[in-house]
Amino acid sequence: MWLTNSSIGRKVVMSVSGLFLVLFLTFHMCMNLALVFSPDAYNAICGFLGANWYALVGTAVLAAGFLVHIIYAFWLTWQNRKARGNDRYAVTTRPKSVEWASQNMLVLGIIVILFLVLHMAQFWFKMQLNEIVPVSEANPHDGSFLVIETFKNPVMVVIYLLWFAALWFHLTHGFWSALHTIGFNNNIWFNRWKVIGNVFATIICLGFAFVAVTLYIQYGVLGWEVPQIPTEMPAVH
């Protein structure tokens, strides 16, 4: 199978799974934006993505995407280290045109995953998973409360901003590189894709950051009251 036993095939898997994750991020960012304007709307969207079969299938596919992307990343890196040989260079430099991110994708990826674990524990665990199997005290239908409570804490905001920064670096290289790998590039589009990738990564990361920071200002600084769905009330479906 060329997707596993050829170098370009393996890269195609990286590329396609990466692009899929980019799509997911885009959706996730848009959804988060709703929270700033209307916690109810956000909860409605969350509800829509609850324990329904299509949401579960979506989650499974998404998880598979992550898994493939991560496994291939380690696999490729292992092979690449082997290809480098036993003796390392005593002096190394990075040519000007080479992005720092491009040479540190694995490191950036690992940072992203570590935060992801925290993120999952904070939210997914208490929301979607909690809806299927009760694992937490939290109300799985009141996502907005959970999110706002988290971002009232400035430490959390800083941690998340760091995450978005790592994600930004990862995406700036990942985006155009993915298109390059599936052959969707040439001399003219080379710089265009890089610019588009940078703009896109910036929009996504700024979007996420905007939500985190705004929630902090609204609820943490200005002291707005956090809307909460009373636990005895039936869930909005």
């Binding site: 050829s6 082997k82 290809a83 040989g85």
Partner: protein, 251 residues
């Protein structure tokens, strides 16, 4: 203007493929800044011979930047700190009096060291042998002008074909990937109608051979193109990917 400079050289010495190598430090004095880097090494070797020691072994031949034989990793750059040239065209005016210069061989599993700074690059020949040609025997060709080729295609093919097979791309790549080299040949022939006939077969065979020889996976860092002495473009890699994916989807 010509100046004379003194330098400290840290040179990798390794007896053979299996031996353990180490850096040796040498001093050279009064090097003309108009000399080429290899001429500076000639001076070092002359000095070593006069001291009764064995000279530093390095590959070099045409000394005009086209044969692709010279292959030194100088201060962290394949072919040294200047851009778009080979080691033999690197001149000492790029260095200052008192500099310490670290000289290493290409380091890659695909290019084992033969001695000192000389490495074995026959892997590249094997990749070409796998499919880097059009399968035409001598004698059967039609008139050269019977085939019209758009100038832009011919020029782009020429740019890809200017690869000298020196291995700097592999040496520069943190992944030890030979994609720029392979893509240059695949691109050249994919751009020309003569080469299109067996484009799919070529892409498959050359990539398979490249993988088999233990070169790494390309992660599009672009270090290869940045260090390429002939400025072979990274977009060739996109074309190779395209050709390869197309070929595989046809299977």
């Amino acid at each position: 203007m010509e100046k004379k400079i003194d330098l400290t050289l840290k040179v990798w010495r390794q007896r053979d493929r299996k031996a353990k190598g180490q850096f040796e430090t040498y001093n050279v004095k009064g090097i003309s800044t108009d000399s080429s880097f290899l001429e500076m090494l000639d001076v070092l070797n002359e000095q070593l011979i006069n001291e009764g020691k064995e000279p530093v072994v390095f590959d070099h031949d045409c000394r005009e930047g086209i044969c692709g034989m010279c292959s030194l990793y100088i201060n962290g750059h394949p072919h040294g700190p200047d851009s778009a040239i080979t080691t033999c065209q690197l001149h000492m005016r790029k260095f200052n009096n008192g500099d310490t210069i670290t000289i290493e061989p290409w380091r890659s599993a695909g290019f084992p060291v033969i001695r000192d700074l000389m490495v074995d690059r026959t892997a590249y020949d094997q990749i070409i042998a796998a499919g880097g040609y059009t399968s035409v025997n001598v004698g059967g060709a039609q008139d050269a002008n019977a085939l019209l080729i758009p100038k832009t295609d011919a020029d782009e093919a020429m740019d890809a074909a200017s690869c000298i097979g020196c291995g700097a791309c592999v040496a520069a790549c943190k992944n030890g990937s030979a994609m720029l080299f392979v893509s240059a040949k695949v691109s050249q022939l994919a751009l020309l109608p003569q080469g299109r006939v067996e484009a799919a077969r070529r892409a498959r065979a050359m990539v398979a051979k490249m993988d088999e020889l233990g070169f790494g996976n390309c992660t599009n860092t672009g270090a290869c193109a940045a260090e390429c002495p002939k400025s072979v473009s990274l977009s060739n890699i996109a074309r190779l990917n395209r050709e390869f994916i197309k070929a595989k989807l046809q299977d």
